[in-house]
Assembly symmetry: C2
Homo-oligomer: 196 residues x 2
Amino acid sequence: MPESPVDSRRVTSVAELSRVGLELFLQNGFEGTTVEDIATAAGISRRTFFRYFASKNDVPWGDFDVLVDRLRTHLRATPAGVSTIAALHAAIVDFNDYPKAEQDRHRQRMDLLLNVPVLVAHSTLRYASWRQAIAEFIAARSGTSVAALRPHVVSWAYQAASIASYEVWLRQPRVELTAVLDEALTTLEQEFRRPA
Amino acid sequence: MPESPVDSRRVTSVAELSRVGLELFLQNGFEGTTVEDIATAAGISRRTFFRYFASKNDVPWGDFDVLVDRLRTHLRATPAGVSTIAALHAAIVDFNDYPKAEQDRHRQRMDLLLNVPVLVAHSTLRYASWRQAIAEFIAARSGTSVAALRPHVVSWAYQAASIASYEVWLRQPRVELTAVLDEALTTLEQEFRRPA
DNA sequence: CTACATGTGGCACTCAGTGTCACTTCAAGG
DNA sequence: CCTTGAAGTGACACTGAGTGCCACATGTAG
């Protein structure tokens, strides 16, 4: 069967749909691209698009939740000998270490997420699970409750450092993202008095 | 002229419209209230509503920008003898010190802003100017650039402490918000090694 | 009384997001 | 080979936010 009755160009995965959307956003801007446009380009209907994404805002995020799960696993697997700060440092750098082949796409994605107001706002909701993973780890390591003030404030600070790093990286594409992150995290660690 | 031709009940200020909206949100929930509902309750048209607010999401914020301006002024007026940390501490507590008569409304407003997902997301954009004011002050005091990493990370941490305080306060209405904030800020200050 | 600036309402339009239902695809089991 | 059921898809209609445009009212300065 050389030709399926279904259009073989039909895109039916979150990852691929995200790529198609990203391409259109690059061409026409985020606001300038309608869900209809993405659906058409992917060979599916508008209705079907919303079965893959809860909202247009989620397109640039792709499979983010999977990555957060990986971060959580990474942290849990840290040997007890490694300090909390060192563990977070390594896990966060690793979290943002994308293969060369994907770096362009990743930059483009982050450029949108950090500069389009609607997406900046929406990011808060997506980042919440990331911060939660960090906060849980800090709480577990320090033996305090996750509901305590400190884990959350610190996880916010880590998010801030990450975002600040991305902003530097987007302005200076030459430097390695992981290098910037490494520096930012080091700066952050020097801000904390007690060993976390 | 006992009766103006214009409906005297017509509401024509951001502050009052915000109050009308808040009341409806309390009754029917944020999602359960349409802009049309608010406009009707305020005696104006839907079109006019959008001349007061850029979006429905801005209703709970009311005149926030004015408050941020006041924060900025407060910080600038700080005598040079007061440390950066102490100045921020005082200014932030003051920023959140509402008169008794408005406390109920303020609690209701914050309850929405911290619990309705769309509003949580949108808050990021509104808080940005607050953080900017903090970051500018820190940068000025430490003689570094506002573009530097540290002012931003620290301002994020202050925001996190504020939000965490509000969450505590919303769960335990008995305690004073300013007291919770005071405690949270003290905790935060102990996290910083160098004098900011 | 006129002229001009500002505020308002009505209307039509775009687009995101949702509920419903009919249709297709495909795999499992007779 | 046929049936049955589950899962994915598309068409359609609808709600609601937000915008552009234009006509009308109000208020103020000359």
